[in-house]
C-alpha cells in the first residue's frame, strides 16, 4: 500500500479541487466536485489508517516533514468522514436555499474554494510533523473558514465572522508563541537543528526539555489553541459563528474544526508531560474541561436558537473530551471514542436543524415545532441526534461517557466526577425539554420544502447507524485502533 504517496495525494487532491472550483461554470458542478473529492479523501484516509495500524505503527513522507501515527491517523479518518458527510449534505442544503440567499455561481465558487481549502489546511495540521507548519495550517483554517461563515454577508454573519476572525487570530498568535517557547526549550541545552520544531524530536526521550520554558509553552499553547477549540471561558466566538454559518459549515466547525485545535494541544501535551510529569498538563486540562462542561450546561438551559443550542453542546463535549485526555490512558481512549461519536452526532444534528430551519424559515426553537410531522426524515434525525447528544443509550455517546466515568473513578477524581454528572444532568433536563418541544407536537407553519434528493437518506442512515452500532458493539480492529491511538499520548519511560 502506497501510504506515503497517498499522504501527498490526500493533500494535493483537495488543493487542486479548490483551484478547479474557480473555473466551474455552474453551482451544482461545484457541489458535485466537493462531494467527489471528499469521498476520495475518505478512501485515502482509510488507506493511510490501514498502513498506520500495520506493524510499523506510523507513516512518514517528505523525510519526516509528514509524520502520521495512530493518533493523527484516527483524527484524519474522522475529519474526512465528517467532510464527506457535510459535503454530501451541502449538496442538498444549498439547492434549497431560500430566495433571498440564492446560491449563485460566484458564491458557489467561493464556497468550493474555501471548503476544500479548509480541508487541505486541516489535513496539513494533522499530517505535519513540524509544529511550525502545524501552526501555519491552523492559522490558514481560521482565515479560510472566516468567509465560510459570512457566505451570504449580512449584519449578523459579518458580526459573527469578525468576532471569529479577531479572537481566533489572537489565540493562534499565542499558540505560535507557545510553539516558539517549546522550540527554545529544546535548544536551550546545545543541540540546535533544523528539526528543532519536529514533534518526533520534541516527544523523544533524548530531548532534554527545559521545564520552565515548557511550562510557559504549554500555557500559551493551551490558551491559544484552546480559543480555537472553544474551551470555556475563551469560547465566546463559538456560539456566534456556529449560529450564523450555513448548516454544513456549522457541522464542519463543531464536527471537526474544534477537534483539530484539541489535537494540536494534545500534540504538545506529551512533551510537556515528559518534561514536567503528569500533573501539570493534566491539572490544566481538567480545569478547562470541567469549566467548559459547567459553563455550557448553564448556557444550554436558556437557549432560544437551535443552532446556538448545538454550539453550546459542542462546548460541553469539547470539555468532556479534554477531561478524558486528562484522565490517563483509559481516559484518552474514552476521549478518542467520544471524538468520533460527537463529530458524527453533532454533524447529524446540524444537518437536521439546517434543513428544518430552511422549512420553518428560522432557527428559533419556538418556531420549530412538530418536526416529526413536518418532515419525517429530518425530524427523526433531530430526535436521534439530540437524544444521543444528551447521552441516552443505546447510542454510542452513552458508551464513551461510561468509559469516561470508569477513567474518572479509576483516577479517583471524585470532585470532577460529581461536577461532570451534575452538569450533564442539567444539560439533560434542559436539552430534553428543548428537543421535545421541537420534535413533537402539532407542526407549526412551515413550507413543504423541495425534495431532498438521493443522498439524504444515506447520510442519515450512515450517521445514525454508526451511532447505534458503536453504542452496542465495538469492532475489534476499531478497538485496537483506539487503544494504539491512546497509547501514542502515553509518556514513554
Amino acid at each position: 500500500m502506497y501510504a506515503s504517496q497517498s499522504i501527498i495525494a490526500a493533500l494535493a487532491l483537495p488543493l487542486s479541487g479548490a483551484l478547479f472550483c474557480l473555473v466551474l461554470p455552474r453551482s451544482h458542478h461545484v457541489l458535485k466536485t466537493i462531494v467527489g473529492v471528499s469521498a476520495v479523501e475518505l478512501l485515502l484516509a482509510l488507506n493511510i489508517w490501514a498502513a498506520v495500524l500495520g506493524p510499523k505503527g506510523f507513516v512518514t513522507a517528505a523525510d519526516q516533514w509528514f509524520y502520521i501515527d495512530a493518533f493523527s491517523s484516527f483524527h484524519i479518518v474522522v475529519l474526512t468522514l465528517v467532510f464527506a458527510l457535510s459535503s454530501a449534505f451541502a449538496s442538498i442544503y444549498f439547492t434549497h436555499e431560500a430566495d433571498d440567499l440564492v446560491f449563485t455561481t460566484s458564491i458557489a465558487r467561493r464556497f468550493g474554494v474555501l471548503w476544500l481549502g479548509a480541508q487541505t489546511a486541516m489535513l496539513l495540521v494533522l499530517m505535519s510533523n513540524n509544529l511550525g507548519i502545524m501552526w501555519v495550517g491552523m492559522e490558514a483554517t481560521t482565515l479560510l473558514t472566516a468567509f465560510l461563515i459570512s457566505l451570504h454577508p449580512s449584519r449578523l454573519s459579518l458580526e459573527a465572522m469578525w468576532k471569529y476572525l479577531i479572537i481566533c487570530s489572537v489565540g493562534i498568535a499565542f499558540a505560535f508563541m507557545g510553539t516558539l517557547l517549546a522550540a527554545a526549550s529544546i535548544q536551550s541545552d546545545g543541540g540546535i537543528g533544523a528539526d528543532a520544531l519536529f514533534w518526533t524530536k520534541l516527544a523523544s526521550a533524548e530531548a532534554h526539555l527545559d521545564p520552565t520554558l515548557m511550562k510557559f509553552a504549554f500555557v500559551f499553547v493551551l490558551v491559544g489553541y484552546g480559543t480555537k477549540a472553544g474551551l470555556a471561558p475563551i469560547h465566546s466566538w463559538l456560539p456566534d459563528a456556529h449560529s450564523q454559518a450555513p448548516a454544513p459549515v456549522s457541522a464542519m466547525f463543531s464536527g471537526f474544526l474544534l477537534n483539530t485545535a484539541l489535537y494540536c494541544i494534545m500534540r504538545f501535551a506529551t512533551p510537556v508531560r515528559q518534561a514536567l510529569g503528569q500533573d501539570f498538563a493534566s491539572g490544566l486540562l481538567i480545569v478547562f474541561g470541567t469549566l467548559s462542561i459547567l459553563v455550557a450546561a448553564g448556557f444550554i438551559v436558556f437557549q432560544r436558537d437551535a443552532k446556538r443550542l448545538l454550539a453550546y453542546h459542542s462546548v460541553e463535549h469539547m470539555g468532556i473530551i479534554t477531561l478524558g485526555y486528562a484522565l490517563g490512558p483509559l481516559g484518552s481512549f474514552a476521549a478518542l471514542f467520544h471524538t468520533l461519536n460527537h463529530s458524527v452526532c453533532k454533524s447529524l444534528a446540524f444537518f437536521a436543524v439546517g434543513r428544518l430551519g430552511q422549512r420553518y424559515g428560522s432557527h428559533e426553537m419556538h418556531t420549530i415545532a412538530g418536526a416529526l410531522r413536518a418532515d419525517r426524515l429530518w425530524g427523526v434525525s433531530l430526535l436521534i441526534s439530540l437524544l444521543a447528544l444528551i447521552g441516552v443509550a443505546p447510542f454510542s455517546i452513552f458508551m464513551s461517557e461510561y468509559q469516561l466515568l470508569r477513567a474518572a473513578i479509576g483516577a479517583g477524581a471524585w470532585l470532577t466526577l460529581f461536577l461532570f454528572l451534575a452538569a450533564s444532568a442539567v444539560v439533560f433536563v434542559s436539552a430534553l425539554r428543548h428537543m421535545i418541544n421541537m420534535v413533537f407536537g402539532t407542526a407549526s407553519r412551515h413550507d413543504r420544502g423541495g425534495r431532498d434528493g438521493k443522498l439524504a437518506v444515506p447520510i442519515v442512515v450512515a450517521a445514525a447507524g454508526l451511532l447505534i452500532v458503536l453504542g452496542v458493539w465495538m469492532p475489534l480492529p476499531f478497538y485496537h485502533a483506539l487503544s494504539s491511538a491512546a497509547a501514542v499520548l502515553a509518556v514513554r519511560p
Binding site: I167, V219, P233, S236, W237, F299, V301, A393, F398, A425
Partner: protein, 661 residues
C-alpha cells in the same frame, strides 16, 4: 436459554415488523401482537422451567465493548421477576390489538415496537450479570416508555409528562452509573460475581453502595418523593402500556435493589429501618394522594406508589431479620415482598386494562363524568371489582395473601424480646392497617363512582361493553387473582427457591420455614371456603323468599325531593373530602368551596384539585430557582468583542501569573 434468546429476538422482530408494515394497519397490528405474545410465551417457558427445576441457566459470550462482557443468567430470583414481565406482556399483547382497533397511523405501529422493546429490555435487565450490559439494557428500558408516554404528543400535558418521566429515569440512572462503575473499579471486572467477591474486601463501601442502589432503583420503583413521574406518565400512555409499566417496569427497580442486596452479603440493621421508613412513607402518602385524585388512571398510578411501599415494608422486615439473625422473620418478610410483587403486577395490570376499557367505552377517565357503567359493561365492571377487592387486600383474593404474610411477619417481630424489632413490627402492622383502610376508601370511591349509580355524562350513558379480546385478557388476570387467593398455601410454598437465594439459606430450610406460614394459610383458606358457602346459603335463602314475595322497582330515597337527577349523586371529590381535609397537611389538596348561604341558597360549589406536595413544594420550586440563577449567566456572553478579547487575555495572564508564583 434458547427459549429466552428466542423471546428477545421474537419481541424485537415483531416490533420492527410492525413499524415496517405500518401502511397496512391490520398486518402491522398482527405482527406486533404476534411478536409480543409468542416472544413472551417463550420467555415465560424459560422462566417457569428455572422455577420448577430450580437450577439456573446461563449464557455467556464475548462482547467487544471495553469494560463489559455478555453475561446472561436466569437464576431463581431472575426467573421470579421474569414472571410478571413476560406474563403481563402476553396479556397486554392480547389486549393491545383491539385497543388499537381503528388506529392506522404510524404512532400505534411505533407503540407496538416500543412495547415489545420494553418487554425485551426488561427481560435483559433481569437476566444481565454484567455491569455494563445491565446499564445498557437499563437505559434502553428507560427509553421505550418515553415513546409510549408521548404517544398522544399533540397535547402539551402529554409532552410535559414524557419530559418528567425521562428526566426522572435518567437522573436515577446517574446514581446507578456511579454504583456500577464503582463496583467495576473495586472488582477490576464487570461480572456480578466479582462484585460480590470485591465487596467482601471493601466493607467500608457497602453502605454507600446500598444507598446508591436505593436511590437509583428507588426512582424507577417510584418511592416517595421520587414518585412524581408515575402519576404524570401512566395516565397518558395507552392503557396496556400503563399496565406493563406499572405492573412490570417499576418491579424491575425492586429487582435491582434486591439483586444488589444479594451482592452485599449480611446487611446492616439500619438498612432495614431505612427500607421500612421509605416503605411506610411511600405506602401512606401514595394512598393518600390516590384518594385525592379524580382521574382514574392517575389514581391507579398513585396506588402503584402505595404498593411499592408495601413491597418495601416486606423487604425491609426481611433485611432486618437477616441483619438481626432471625431467619424465620427474614424468610417471611422477603416472601411477602416477593408475593406482593407478583400480586400487584396481576391486579394493577387488571385495573389498568379495566381503566383502558372504560376510557374506550365512555371516552373519559374523569371520575365526575362517569357512573353506572356496571349496568352497561357488566364484564369489565366485574373484573374491575375483583381487581379492586384484590388491591384493597380483601379475602379471599391474592392481595390478602401477601398482606397476610407481611402482617404475619409483623406479629412475629412484635413477639421478639428485642425492643427495636418489636417496634419495627408494630410500625409495619399499624401502617399496613392504615393503608388497608385508606385503600378500601379509595377503591370504594373509584369503583362506586365509575361503575355504580347512574351515568354523569352522555358518553357514559352510551357506553358499551368492549371487544372480546380485551375482556378475555382482563378475565385471565381476574382468575389469577382468585386462584392465588384460594391456592395461597401452594403459592407461598413455591416461593421457597427465590427466598432461599435472597436469604442465603438452602431451599430446604426456606421451604421448612415457609411451611410454618402455609399451615395457617390453609386454615384461613378453609375459613374463606366456609364464607363462600354461607354466602351461597344466604343468597339461596333470600332468593327463595323473594320468589314468593313481591319485588318491584322504585325511586331511591331522595329525602322527599321528587325530581332527582344524576347530577345529584355523591361525587368523587365529596366522597373523599373528609379524608383529604383530615390529611390536608400531607396531601396539600387544593379546595375551592362556595358554601350555600341564606334560606334560599343560590349557586354553591365544592371543587378539589390534587396537588402533589413533592412536586409543588420540592421539585418545581427547585427547578424554577435553578433556571433563575443560571439565566444570570448570559451577562458574560453579551456580545462586546472587546470583552471577549479581554477574557482571552485575562485567562492567559492569570495562568502566567499562577505558574510564575
Amino acid at each position: 436459554m434458547l427459549e429466552f434468546t428466542a423471546a428477545i429476538l421474537l419481541l424485537a422482530f415483531g416490533g420492527m415488523l410492525a413499524i415496517v408494515l405500518y401502511p397496512r394497519a391490520g398486518l402491522c397490528q398482527l405482527a406486533g401482537q404476534t411478536g409480543a405474545v409468542l416472544g413472551s410465551a417463550s420467555g415465560l417457558v424459560a422462566a417457569l422451567h428455572v422455577l420448577v427445576t430450580g437450577d439456573a441457566i446461563s449464557l455467556s459470550s464475548i462482547w467487544h465493548m471495553p469494560g463489559g462482557s455478555l453475561q446472561l443468567e436466569i437464576d431463581a430470583l431472575s426467573a421470579f421477576f421474569l414472571l410478571p414481565v413476560f406474563g403481563l406482556s402476553i396479556v397486554t399483547g392480547l389486549y393491545g390489538r383491539s385497543y388499537f382497533a381503528g388506529h392506522r397511523d404510524i404512532a400505534s405501529a411505533a407503540s407496538w415496537f416500543h412495547l415489545n422493546m420494553l418487554t425485551a429490555t426488561m427481560a435483559l435487565v433481569i437476566a444481565a450479570r454484567d455491569g455494563l450490559l445491565f446499564l445498557l439494557a437499563w437505559e434502553t428500558m428507560a427509553l421505550s416508555p418515553f415513546f409510549l408516554v408521548i404517544f398522544d404528543d399533540r397535547k402539551a400535558a402529554v409532552r410535559h409528562a414524557a419530559w418528567t418521566y425521562l428526566v426522572a429515569a435518567h437522573l436515577g440512572t446517574a446514581f446507578l452509573l456511579v454504583l456500577f462503575v464503582l463496583l467495576g473499579t473495586i472488582a477490576a471486572s464487570s461480572d456480578f460475581a466479582a462484585y460480590g467477591a470485591a465487596l467482601k474486601d471493601h466493607q467500608a463501601l457497602r453502605s454507600s453502595v446500598f444507598l446508591l442502589a436505593l436511590i437509583g432503583f428507588g426512582v424507577k420503583a417510584g418511592i416517595v418523593p421520587a414518585h412524581v413521574w408515575l402519576p404524570e406518565a401512566h395516565p397518558v400512555a395507552p392503557s396496556h402500556a400503563s399496565a406493563l409499566m406499572s405492573g412490570a417496569m417499576i418491579k424491575v427497580g425492586i429487582y435491582g435493589l434486591v439483586r444488589v442486596l444479594t451482592l452485599l452479603g449480611t446487611p446492616e440493621p439500619w438498612w432495614g429501618w431505612l427500607l421500612i421508613g421509605v416503605g411506610a412513607s411511600s405506602g401512606v402518602l401514595g394512598v393518600l394522594f390516590a384518594l385525592a385524585q379524580h382521574d382514574l388512571k392517575r389514581l391507579l398510578a398513585y396506588h402503584s406508589v402505595e404498593n411499592i411501599g408495601i413491597i418495601l415494608l416486606g423487604i425491609g422486615i426481611g433485611v432486618l431479620g437477616l441483619a438481626k439473625g432471625m431467619p424465620l422473620l427474614a424468610v417471611i418478610g422477603f416472601a411477602s415482598g416477593f408475593l406482593h410483587v407478583l400480586n400487584h403486577s396481576i391486579f394493577k395490570g387488571l385495573l389498568f386494562l379495566g381503566a383502558g376499557a372504560v376510557g374506550r367505552a365512555a371516552h373519559s377517565l374523569e371520575l365526575e363524568e362517569l357512573g353506572g357503567l356496571l349496568k352497561r359493561m357488566p364484564w369489565t365492571g366485574t373484573f374491575f371489582l375483583i381487581g379492586a377487592a384484590a388491591i384493597v387486600g380483601l379475602p379471599p383474593l391474592n392481595g390478602f395473601v401477601s398482606e397476610f404474610l407481611l402482617l404475619y411477619a409483623g406479629f412475629l417481630a412484635v413477639l421478639q424480646p428485642a425492643a427495636a424489632v418489636a417496634v419495627a413490627g408494630l410500625i409495619v402492622i399499624v401502617i399496613l392497617g392504615l393503608i388497608g383502610g385508606l385503600a378500601a376508601a379509595c377503591f370504594a370511591k373509584a369503583f362506586g363512582i365509575v361503575f355504580l349509580g347512574s351515568p354523569r355524562s352522555a358518553e357514559a350513558s352510551e357506553a358499551r361493553e368492549v371487544a372480546r379480546p380485551m375482556r378475555a385478557s382482563m378475565a385471565v388476570l381476574a382468575l389469577l387473582c382468585i386462584a392465588i387467593g384460594l391456592g395461597a398455601p401452594l403459592a407461598v410454598a413455591s416461593l421457597a427457591g427465590v427466598v432461599a437465594q435472597v436469604t442465603g439459606a438452602t431451599v430446604a430450610t426456606a421451604s421448612a420455614q415457609l411451611a410454618i406460614v402455609t399451615r395457617p394459610l390453609a386454615l384461613a383458606v378453609s375459613v374463606f371456603v366456609f364464607l363462600i358457602a354461607v354466602a351461597a346459603l344466604a343468597w339461596a335463602l333470600r332468593a327463595r323468599r323473594l320468589a314468593v314475595a313481591s319485588v318491584r322497582r322504585g325511586p331511591v330515597w331522595g329525602c322527599g325531593y321528587l325530581f332527582p337527577s344524576p347530577k345529584m349523586q355523591y361525587t368523587a371529590s365529596s366522597f373523599a373530602q373528609p379524608l383529604t381535609t383530615q390529611f390536608h397537611l400531607l396531601i396539600q389538596n387544593r379546595e375551592a368551596f362556595v358554601p350555600p348561604q341564606g334560606y334560599f341558597p343560590a349557586a354553591s360549589s365544592y371543587a378539589s384539585d390534587s396537588g402533589d406536595p413533592a412536586l409543588h413544594l420540592l421539585f418545581v420550586p427547585t427547578f424554577r430557582w435553578f433556571d433563575r440563577v443560571v439565566t444570570r449567566l448570559n451577562v458574560i456572553q453579551h456580545g462586546h468583542i472587546h470583552v471577549y478579547i479581554l477574557y482571552v487575555a485575562a485567562t492567559l495572564i492569570a495562568l502566567l501569573i499562577w505558574e510564575s508564583l
